[in-house]
């Protein structure tokens, strides 16, 4: 079982709603990630946090807003999403942002925008 826990597992939201995805890890990792995965496609990196500071934003639209309240938690705030944003959102963590550090993925949150 993965040690990266994501909630909710499924979320349906309207285009005017505001919702949040949550992620928690207790492995003491200092790097946390959000990835987006469409059906039959590889995960695409969205954001990277290192030591609770945003390190990488892969030009993600502002309707996605990440937040790292502490070293164990990572949130993704969603607002005014589009139907094409429907996807599996994966949280991940690694010891540090260093090559060779295993990136552990959660089981993901399935998001449907209607």
């Amino acid at each position: 079982d993965t040690e990266v826990t994501q909630t909710p597992k499924h979320l349906v939201m309207g285009m005017t709603n505001k919702k949040s995805l949550k992620c928690e890890q207790h492995m003491g990792h200092r790097a946390m990630y959000w990835y987006k995965q469409k059906a039959k496609k590889p995960p695409e990196l969205m954001f990277v946090y290192s030591y609770e500071k945003l390190s990488i934003n892969e030009s993600v639209p502002s309707r996605f807003s990440p937040e790292c309240p502490n070293s164990s938690l990572l949130n993704l705030h969603l607002h005014a999403l589009q139907p094409e944003d429907s996807a599996l959102y994966l949280c991940a963590s690694s010891n540090r942002i260093l090559s060779g550090n295993t990136i552990y993925f959660g089981e993901g949150s399935w998001l449907t925008v209607v």
């Binding site: 790097a31 990196l45 090559s99 990136i103």
Partner: protein, 112 residues
């Protein structure tokens, strides 16, 4: 170039057979090459990984072969089992380690 090219897109193997998935990359800054296994409805899970300083790494039935000069690496699954049926992603990351670039994935089906 950050691209990692993976083939085949799909693969059907009989139980007990060998499954082979290939990947190629262009960016010589890549220095870590993991393979992830993903079952339907689950997140990707690390299967096995290799660094360019070795040409082969074996863990149980899973082997990575690495050819640095050709910039290619492959996953071999020996004695394939129906439980191995999943999508497999090769990936690569540079020295900085902050960006994991995935191949397009291979959907493996192992028939009983």
């Amino acid at each position: 170039q950050q691209q990692v090219k993976q083939s085949p897109q799909s693969l059907i193997v009989q139980k007990g057979g060998i499954s082979i998935i290939n990947c190629a990359y262009e960016n010589t800054a890549f220095d870590y090459f993991p393979w992830y296994q993903q079952f339907p409805g689950k997140g990707p899970a690390l299967l096995i990984a290799i660094r360019p300083d070795v040409s082969e790494k074996k863990e149980g039935r899973f082997t990575i072969s690495f050819n640095k000069s050709a910039k290619q690496f492959s996953l071999h699954i020996m004695d394939s089992q129906p439980g191995d049926s999943a999508t497999y992603f090769c990936a690569a990351s540079p020295t900085s380690g902050s960006r994991l670039t995935f191949g397009e994935g291979t959907q493996l089906t192992v028939n009983p």
